[in-house]
Symmetry: C2
Subunit: 701 residues, 2 copies
């Protein structure tokens, strides 16, 4: 064996023996060698060195990432040099005052034979470095590189719903990646990879702990742990925030009350905040879920949400921190329409919140359903900066077994027109602060990250983390462009496969809606675990935790009348919205049953009766999963075998579960519609009782 052939043989063995199938751990930061030799050569020519000026750990992180990334992409070691003055053919990081770039923007361009990554701050350079890497990872030309970007939203959060015992509320990718018991001593190398991934998509704030918060995190013991994580996040431009338990002054402070107007309580929070800033000097602030789903809050003392939020803002004092107060609330014993409750509690408080307070509003009025109309608070609180909260973990969207690309869902909300200041007053413009001239703006994604090797359980769910971050940075990016970008970085660059996968991703959310909750159905899923269908759920601890509360199927028809003749939740929207959605004929079919109780026999704008349209959607939705399987089978040659097989097997589950949804809902609603299926559809082969049994199994302890 020649030395040359030995070389490739040993390289092969090394890779093969180590089991280097793509296990998904590297996310979209794969940095696999560029396959096109010509392009690799062109990149190599421009990568003789990386000049990193002395500066903060953030700059060093940018340099390290470039070095690591280029080593992978180019298969060559690129030296880091201090300044690189006079040299050509390298990459130069540069911090220079530039008002156009803002605090976090960057410009990557060719200057004097070098690629210059410029930012007005170290963070800007960091984001520029990742943008350059993305540029190369997606196979674009380096010769006339010209990237200019700055974020449209200032605070770009990930919210983890992770508990101190290691479980993740609504997490479907294993346990929490935060090992509280082992902190602060054990620093899992994974923490840094998490920070890198977030920085690469522009996320700059993280909340490690569940909004159903434990008071543990406010103790000196746990602050040391949080501080250890903050140390890992800092070089990646990420600040740490904390979910707080409202009752903390009682639970750990030894006080008799947590009344926000009580002077002792106020002093306690001020002292606690000062203590936090001593161990985490760049601490970001507090996230609060109060008086919601059993959590304590200021209303326990006859105070309102503004009293609570403003007290925390006062505690932050001169520190550079903010308060994010969640608007996801509904009364303990509701007999009204849950759709309206957050609005009714929060809209009257507009203008009452202190300067450092942002109110965090879910994209829709109920709870992260597969499709919701935009939340009526958007546009209705002009004096308050509103943070848009979207859910990346697929609580209602198929856990880790359904391929559902969420960018279209997020975009649908962002592009919805509130008409608050006339046409074009999109949710995006409310959130980014441009409509109401807010100085601060924010967006939050509930993380889909867990301890699974590939972070998100379903490999394609990585695309939801990715596209959320990119949209948080620039909400004008399209779902399709982001799907394509992610696919090229993560799965393959083979053009046909890229286009097939992009198409599959982009259509996946509509397909999911079709086989689970078409035409505006919502909240008819399995009790508590939110898995599988359960439209027959009639009793629960609260009426608004049942399914019949929402679908209101009866002999006449289906859907929740939220017009003026019903709950009039529709009245919370601007007149233009009311006008369009208030008439079943003009209401988009996707929102129809959100607002109207429609007779089974009514002909819809689609030309079919409600019953026929509904059942057809269930069937075509389930059939579309077969189409997804076929599309995925086609890209097999272009993908890593292990990763391809993983997704393929999940698509098989998805089809099994799509049939479960289809059969459950069609058979259940048929009891009310009392009509046969349209002749083109083959009736389910199993009785409803059998499906109910299946649902019961998954709800056993």
């Amino acid at each position: 064996m020649s030395f040359r052939s030995l070389f490739f043989f040993v390289l092969f063995c090394t890779l093969a023996h180590r089991g280097l199938a793509d296990d998904g751990y590297r996310l979209w930061l794969k940095y696999d060698q560029v396959r096109d030799a010509g392009q690799r050569k062109a990149y190599q020519k421009q990568a003789n060195f990386i000049a990193v000026p002395s500066g903060s750990p953030v700059l060093q992180a940018a340099g390290r990432e470039l070095q690591n990334g280029l080593q992978g992409l180019l298969g060559q070691s690129v030296p880091m040099v201090g300044e690189g003055k006079g040299s050509k053919g390298g990459i130069v990081l540069s911090v220079a005052a530039n008002p156009e770039l803002g605090q976090e923007g960057y410009r990557v361009s060719t200057q004097g034979g070098n690629v210059v990554v410029m930012g007005a701050t170290d963070k800007g350079v960091l984001y520029g470095a990742f943008a350059l890497l993305r540029h190369l990872q997606t196979g674009q030309s380096i010769s006339a590189v010209n990237l200019n970007s700055k974020p449209r939203i200032e605070y770009r959060f990930l919210n983890h719903w992770d508990n101190p015992n290691g479980t993740v509320e609504r997490g479907y990718a294993g346990s929490s990646i935060w090992k509280w018991q082992e902190l602060p001593e054990v620093i899992d190398p994974r923490y840094q990879d998490y920070a890198r991934a977030n920085a690469s998509i522009g996320i700059n704030g993280v909340v490690f702990n569940n909004v159903n918060a434990s008071a543990r995190f406010l103790t000196a013991e746990y602050l040391q742990k949080v501080a250890a994580l903050a140390n890992v996040m800092r070089p990646y431009g990420i600040r740490v925030y904390m979910s707080v338990l409202w009752a903390a002054p009682k639970v750990i402070g030894g006080l008799q009350t947590s009344d926000p107007l009580d002077p002792q309580v106020r002093r306690w929070w001020t002292a606690k905040t000062d203590e936090i800033y001593k161990v985490i000097p760049d601490f970001g602030g507090f996230l609060v879920k109060a008086n919601s789903e059993g959590e304590p809050g200021p209303q326990d003392y006859g105070r309102n949400h503004a009293d609570g939020a403003n007290m925390l803002a006062e505690a932050l004092g001169q520190h550079d921190g903010i308060v994010i107060w969640r608007a996801f609330v509904y009364k303990a014993n509701s007999n009204g329409d849950r759709f309206k409750e957050a609005f009714q509690e929060f809209q009257p408080l507009d203008g009452k919140f202190a300067k450092k307070v942002l109110v965090q509003v879910k994209n829709g009025p109920i709870d992260f359903q597969a499709r919701e109309p935009f939340h009526p608070l958007f546009g209705a609180m002009p004096k308050t900066p509103l943070v848009l909260e979207v859910q990346l973990t697929q609580e209602y969207l198929g856990f880790a077994t359904h391929l559902v690309y969420l960018a279209p869902l997020i975009k649908e909300c962002l592009e919805a027109d509130t008409y608050a200041k006339g046409p074009g007053s999109t949710v995006a413009k409310v959130v980014d602060g441009t409509i109401d001239n807010h100085a601060i703006s924010g967006i939050a994604g509930v993380a889909n990250i867990g301890s699974d090797r590939n972070w998100t359980g379903h490999p394609v769910s990585q695309a939801n983390w990715y596209s959320y971050g990119r949209l948080a940075w620039d909400h004008t990016l399209t779902s399709q462009a982001l799907a394509e970008e992610w696919t090229k970085m993560t799965l393959t660059q083979e053009p046909k496969a890229v286009s097939t996968i992009t198409d599959l991703l982009t259509k996946s959310r509509d397909i999911y809606v079709r086989y689970t909750t078409p035409l505006g159905l919502h909240h008819i899923m399995g009790q508590s675990i939110h898995y599988g269908p359960e439209p027959w759920l009639e009793k629960s601890a609260r009426p608004d935790w049942t399914s019949i509360y929402y679908h209101k199927a009866d002999a006449v028809g289906l859907g929740f009348n939220r017009t003026a003749t019903g709950s009039n939740a529709l009245g919370l929207y601007a007149p233009q919205v009311q006008k369009q959605w208030g008439d079943p004929a003009t209401c988009p079919p996707n929102y129809l049953l959100w607002f109207h109780h429609v007779p089974w026999t009514q002909t819809l704008s689609t030309g079919q009766t409600l019953w026929n349209e509904l059942t057809t959607r269930y069937y075509t939705g389930a059939d579309s999963v077969l189409w997804m399987q076929q599309q995925w089978a086609q890209v097999q040659p272009a993908l890593d075998a292990e990763l391809h097989a993983d997704v393929a097997s999940r698509l098989r589950i998805q089809y099994r579960e799509a049939l479960w949804w289809r059969d459950a809902c069609v058979l259940y609603f048929q009891q009310y519609a009392k009509q046969p299926l349209p002749p083109t559809l083959t009736p389910p082969s199993r009785p409803l009782a059998e499906i109910k049994q299946l649902v019961d199994i998954y709800q056993l302890r």
Copy 2:
């Protein structure tokens, strides 16, 4: 750059870029290249081929493992051939009738120029293949290899306490590796690596689900999932068993009762068992926790444990399966001594169990404490095969932050003399069936495995999984030999480092006992979570869930009087044991407070007063963790850097927590002893109240 230097450079880059620090995933099956060139050459000479006769998937798995292992160890690809007749210099797998080897034994020896791995069955060959690999991994000569072994215990189980929702009861290494929701479609590659690891140490039976069982597993839906896992286990000689919920006939069978004497119930179990064998033809049988800690059982219907177990044995009928019935029971409202309860319930049933039933008994009478006297049932039920249950997950032994090697604990129990048939009637001989001539024998380890990349959280906890399996196979192996074996396969072969680590491991459990529960203290840990010290715990849902129930500290002294003047639990043992343990002067100090209430001022056999001995042990125990840190620091050059750093950081936590235990217990007991510390010991710098606060933090939601 020459091609040769390019070769090493690229190899280095490949390894470095891929982040191939040792993350612990490969366990003891690392198969890293043999460093000693001479030895590698000697091995290579004997590895020209692997002859694998056609046969079952088990034989194929043996061949694949050898091929994979040799490729790593030797850095060369070894071809697999069908028979290899006439060829020399290879490895030949051979199945040949040989009564001496039994069903699972093997012989590995040199014959006709080949290394022959022989077994009377395919499974014997599989175990022989792993023995050969172990032989090479630990650097032993291949020229005159001669390995002969067969298991002393027939059923060698791992019991997982994993729940269908992915949590692990008392698991400290992430979530469950079993992804029930994704099964049967998604087969995580990890499942096969789990099977390989178990086969390599001789484990031949696994129970995937918690003994606090969900009825889900008995449904057709879940049987498909279990069957999918069984398919992965089968080629590795592993049979699948199942924990069952006693109330299943009611919960999922639609019956009104689960009375084991009810004909309908009996028919239900028989039909269910037949159904299981249809989908898992080699199903192993049932594991039952009944009438214990709130679980349902035959006593709900006035029947006893034998009635329940025998009914299941009957349901197994002609199938090759067994029933394992757990003896870990204590009454719902106890006012007696919990120590005695399992004995009182089970000993009278000796001789009443059907042939296929084994009774599974924990190593000690309470619950997996850091040190317990052997369970009095051992030796007291000669007509019943008893399965020894030990706990590998460190529920009471420091979770994933304390380095505690458990082989000495297991050995201490195995070597304890029950005197059941005169001196030498060790627990080992009771369990392996030799004393009472049982046809079947078993041992079970409660798994310490979770979704953490390194499987066990603390890297050294892998040694507990490893040594348990090896002891289950051959309980005469020593703790030290197994520590050395594991270290060589897993961490390093550098002789000084091997000896340092072996010494550290072997001493670690005694050190843990010293700083937590010296002199026979037990059950004084943090409430519910079993983390940290809480000797002051006075109230709980049950008296025997408090700490004061066990330590009985008062003005006079400390310890639980279990002699004839007390609860007389000691009376459950053989007279010889009673004699030794019944006298404080002859009772081993390690068991002293298990059986005696000893005055603080009493001079012990150690020559010190109880108070001085107790406090000295707490202090020397904590100090020994510093010694452990020093030892670990010394081996740094011989170990992978990331793995070394991980353990080093955990040792820092261990010291912090050792001080926590020391200070808590010394200060708490001092309130009763009312004496100063011996002058050589520096009193804790923090007050007891501060430590109590710390304990409270970890018990917050």
